[in-house]
Symmetry: C2
Subunit: 144 residues, 2 copies
């Protein structure tokens, strides 16, 4: 079981008529099961925060634009307790996948003018009962 966030570089297959971008295969260790896939977009400079999943493991890929992700760990007994971790993903600079185990607070911000789109391949179907939310100001992170 994954304890913390894992970043994995993904392949881009260059093709004359349009590239192919890998996202997730069942043969990869980050695959924890499939429950649902959905897209979330975030406007330039807007922040979607904070959200924590009690059960869901997320596999996140940014297919358009650039998105900054911030994680805050308040789990007891976690070696990264009280720390922030930042990742910036996008197809042109850092085409990678984030695998996020349950229990960690997450926020994200649109970094590109224009559209910013992420795909989440989650191991369970959306269930409002397994999601906790906090106001943006309730975790003291300095957003841009």
């Amino acid at each position: 079981m994954l304890k913390y966030i894992k970043e994995t570089n993904l392949s881009i297959i260059p093709l004359e008529k349009g590239n192919v971008f890998h996202a997730l295969k069942t043969t990869e260790s980050d695959f924890q099961g499939f429950g649902e896939a959905y897209f979330s977009t975030v406007n330039y400079h807007d922040i979607k925060a904070w959200k924590k999943h009690k059960k869901m493991t997320l596999n996140i890929v940014v297919i358009l634009g650039m998105i900054k992700f911030v994680f805050f760990d308040d789990r007891k007994n976690s070696s990264s307790r009280g720390k922030f971790h930042e990742f910036i993903l996008g197809p042109n600079k850092n085409y990678s996948r984030l695998t996020v185990p349950p229990g960690i607070w997450m926020g994200f911000q649109g970094s590109n003018i224009g559209e910013n789109i992420l795909l989440n391949i989650a191991d369970i179907v959306h269930d409002p009962n397994e999601i906790e939310r906090k106001e943006l100001e309730s975790i003291a992170y300095r957003w841009d």
Copy 2:
């Protein structure tokens, strides 16, 4: 088992900071299993054709731009044998999912100036041995 192509309208959840777009849930009948998810892009006016999967069921969503899909059915005993079927998908005009069973020839063309991106959620991992290809000219369809 699905016999022909199925088009399903998908939900877009409007949110102030950026919309959420549904793609596929295990609880939907179009879910045939998860093997791999990948993105394919196609430049404006370019055509990627023809390809047929012997085993893979595809679940295709267009998250950016607009893509025209053309299917040609040459399966014996199929009621749509010898016919073309066309679909145009995109998040702004027709946000839908195509579920494509194995055995049908597929081609697609970028309809928007700028980027055109599809997500395929396939029930098996990519396997070159289950794919057949034909030259564009070998199936007499009149592309734009």
